[in-house]
């Protein structure tokens, strides 16, 4: 099912083009919208305000209810979606409602309200232009903030012509058409339903943001107004809304402010002097449970800006349509786990490539990839793993078996090997090499090669953690490192018992295997008692330094073992940082600083998880190279470890974009510091016959010593 939807989306050029155009403009425009403001300060404020609210839901619900009731509103709190529907149906019945106008409300989408109202014989009109189009088309919104972004003007014109009246595919004319047609609905509607962006407990007010001005009409013109508000919209004080008003429009659509920000605090009188009725439904649906979860309570810091969708390299290819849920994208996956249950995310949680692009711009400082990983972990725990996957990890779990398998593969691959690449694989594996060549497994892995390298005696000793790719596919990267470090007077030791860092297991939620990998590596590395542990793969660095500790905690290892692991973690350094430090200290100089243009690809984990991006650029420039930045240098290459095996079709589309950005620089050398990125980009370039080289920074630096 999911695979089919992905295929459909990838084959739909409109979606990819519309979203990509939007996203490219968005990044720049958002940056501009924040000019003169301190985003970190604003989002720290949001975290303070929203986390306080989440920890005090009961108190705020009570306070809001008291205040709003005092001002004439009727407030109804419920955990149950059915009760929301019944409540609205009862109000509708009491007022003999025939027509309802609605402004955008995700909470009502959550409970499929429109369907229930229509079944009760009531006409319902969405009034946000995008939502109206989607409603007429009988589709699902493709984006939380931009529901109809997947449709062209021609398709919109067709929808209008078929469902309402003839109108030509001219955007201005169609907007006027919507104004005229919906205006009639506003004037005749008996009931208006809105959502809310914020609910202020101390005053009992709801705050609604719109650009079109439809919410103002929805809540003003009909005699009865019902606001359906998820309890995560609560804040304690009026002043708490300041950072949300600043961040929400800037992050959602790169606007400094939405055209209308309305504060409604219980109205009592209709325009004609009769009584006006305001109902506020505080809707829970799993939110208070979420607040009690030590990991997931963080997601309640969400202000529903959907910027995590905007910068997601996967979402911009496939859109929200693929998710098939009310909430889509990164945050949508997390919300779905709570509003519809963990199982509902079984397929869609896999879509996250774990690049972390959303983390840096989330105004609620939510670590979306980490929360999705937690979903993955809980799913693996609850549902168990498919047999095939379990079998693979049982091999990875056993170093001897795993490494024997890799050595065997190096022999078995012979028929498919062309130089350093495997360009075609037969049968079930063919998809893997369709758009990108795979590296051939080295005849002699690094673990054997290092034994033959004569190293000078040195005072300082570092341990090298190679990781599977450098050890078995790119041993030359390890050799380059040894050469560099020896030159700086440092000896490299290679603990032979080291194994996979545990990332594949960890990123698939298989925590027992990840923890076991971590323990094996801990044992291997601590025997050498090195000053530092170096890794030339940012993912390995990240696991050894941070993520692996989480796996150990998760598996409840003894505090003694944990303390040892923490001590080891402190010694772990990424080579890109370490080498740069040696250069800065004058311990490493280049005698052959050949001038050459290069562009740099930022590995996701290096830049966003380890915050290293200036260092490798600086080192390469010190070695005489000239930097020419590519567009979106820090956007994922599509590798994502096992992601490229799970979703080769998405991985390849992301790769194509990276290849294009590289080509656009006109430069013939791409440097990066991750063997995974090298495998992906080099493989793509080989398949397409592109004439640039992809090298690990260490190799380029070592050549210039």
């Amino acid at each position: 099912m999911l695979k089919e939807e992905i295929k459909k989306a990838l084959e739909n050029p409109v979606i990819t083009k519309a979203l990509t155009n939007f996203y490219e403009a968005y990044v720049v425009a958002r940056e501009k919208a924040y000019t003169g403001l301190d985003f970190e300060k604003i989002r720290n404020e949001i975290v303070r305000v929203k986390s306080y609210a989440a920890e005090n839901f009961d108190k705020l619900i009570k306070k809001f209810t008291e205040q709003a009731t005092k001002r004439g509103a009727k407030v109804f709190y419920t955990k149950d979606p059915k009760e929301v529907i019944n409540y609205i149906l009862e109000v509708a019945k009491a007022h003999n409602v025939k027509t309802i106008v609605k402004s955008k409300s995700m909470a009502t989408e959550e409970i499929h309200l429109n369907k229930h109202l229509q079944e009760a014989g009531i006409e319902v009109f969405e009034t946000d232009l995008g939502e109206w189009i989607i409603q007429l088309a009988g589709q699902r919104p493709s984006h939380m903030v931009l529901p109809a972004i997947h449709l062209t003007r021609y398709e919109v014109s067709d929808i209008f012509t078929k469902k309402v009246d003839a109108v030509e595919p001219d955007i201005k004319k169609m907007v006027k058409f919507a104004r005229k047609n919906l205006r009639e609905k506003f004037l005749k509607a008996d009931l208006g339903i809105t959502g809310a962006n914020i609910a202020v407990a101390e005053t009992g007010s709801i705050v609604i943001f719109t650009n079109e001005g439809n919410a103002r009409l929805v809540l003003t013109l009909p005699k009865v107004h019902i606001a359906v508000v998820g309890i995560e919209k609560l804040v304690d004080k009026l002043e708490d809304i300041d950072p949300i008003v600043k961040a929400l429009p800037r992050n959602a659509t790169a606007q400094p402010i939405t055209t209308y920000v309305s504060f409604i605090t219980g109205e009592r009188e209709h325009w004609d002097g009769t009584k006006k009725e305001v109902h506020i439904i505080l809707f829970d649906n799993g939110r208070s449970e979420m607040a009690k979860d030590p990991v997931f309570k963080e997601a309640l810091q969400c202000i529903r800006c959907a910027s995590c969708l905007n910068v997601c390299p996967v979402f911009r290819l496939i859109s929200g349509l693929v998710f098939g849920r009310v909430y889509t994208g990164g945050i949508g996956t997390i919300l779905t786990a709570w509003t519809e249950g963990l199982k509902a995310t079984k397929d869609i949680q896999n879509l996250c490539i774990q690049c972390g692009n959303c983390v840096k711009i989330c105004p609620g400082k939510i670590n979306i990839p980490d929360l999705i990983l937690e979903i993955r972990r809980r799913l693996a725990e609850e549902e168990g793993l498919p047999l095939k996957i379990r079998a693979i990890y049982s091999v990875v779990n056993n170093r001897r078996l795993f490494h024997t398998a890799l050595r065997m593969a190096s022999k078995l691959q012979a028929p498919f090997k062309q130089g350093a690449f495997i360009r075609h694989l037969p049968l079930a594996f063919s998809e893997l090499t369709q758009e990108r060549s795979l590296p051939a497994i080295a005849e002699t892995p690094f673990r054997d090669r290092i034994k033959k390298i004569k190293q000078p005696e040195a005072k300082q000793k570092v341990a090298f953690f190679a990781g599977c790719l450098i050890d078995f596919a790119y041993p030359e990267i390890g050799e380059a490192l040894v050469k560099l470090l020896n030159k700086a007077g440092i000896q490299v030791v290679f603990p032979q018992d080291q194994t996979c860092c545990g990332a594949p297991a960890l990123y698939n939620g298989v925590m027992d295997v990840a923890a076991n990998n971590m323990l094996q590596n801990l044992k291997a590395l601590e025997q050498e008692n090195p000053d530092f542990i170096l890794s030339a793969c940012p993912t390995c660095t990240l696991v050894l330094k941070k993520k692996g500790l989480l796996a150990l905690r998760n598996q409840k290892v003894s505090s003694e073992v944990l303390a040892k692991a923490e001590k080891m973690a402190e010694k772990v350094v990424d080579t890109s940082y370490f080498i740069n430090k040696l250069i800065k200290e004058g311990k490493l100089t280049f005698s052959k600083p050949l001038e050459e243009d290069f562009t740099y690809h930022d590995p996701c984990h290096l830049k966003r998880s380890l915050n290293i991006w200036q260092e490798p650029r600086e080192s390469l420039q010190k070695a005489g190279l000239k930097l020419k930045e590519m567009f979106e240098s820090d956007v994922c290459c599509g590798m994502g470890g096992s992601y490229s095996l799970k979703f080769p079709e998405i991985s390849v589309k992301i790769l194509e974009r990276k290849l294009k950005n590289i080509q656009d620089t006109g430069v013939k050398l791409v440097c990066t510091d991750c063997p995974g990125c090298i495998m992906q980009i080099r493989g793509g370039a080989d398949k397409k016959g592109l004439d640039f080289k992809v090298r690990h920074s260490l190799e380029i630096l070592a050549e210039r010593l």
């Binding site: 169609m174 104004r179 009026l238 300041d242």
Partner: protein
Amino acid sequence: MFELFKEKASALMAEVHAFKNRKDALEFVKNFIRENTMPEDQKAVVWYDTWFLDGVKKEDLLAEIPQISFEITPEIASKAKIGINEVDGAIAESGSLIEVSNRIQKRLVSALPEIHIAILPKSKILPDLKTALRSFHLHTHPYITLISGPSRTADIERVLTIGVHGPERVIIVCIENL
């Protein structure tokens, strides 16, 4: 502060005009009505009247500009081309107007017609949202709106289009001495 407000509001496509006194402002409004509507357009202008017209004889104004209606219902406001009201403040940092509309009629004239003319005393421009929030008395004001430029959408192909459900032009008439 006025300069910052003007810069920010103009960036949002509001049209800002400043006048020394009420008399000049009224002249501007009258001319604007004449230029944009015809005398025979019955009720082409809905005017939510408060202090701005103090001392002005309504009969004289109506004789001069018969297209004005002081009667406001959703139907009338919906058909009107221009809606005029006085706003209660503004925020310089965002270029927003603050409209406090305890009575729904006041809101209808800024929500339904194609053009909204907002009368704004210069002295009521506040520096920022924080200050504005402190000035809000929500317990006595059931409805407050911040209005930042004309109604807009980008829902079709991300093309910015002005004037969806609300006004497509927002004319701010700022008065220095009341």
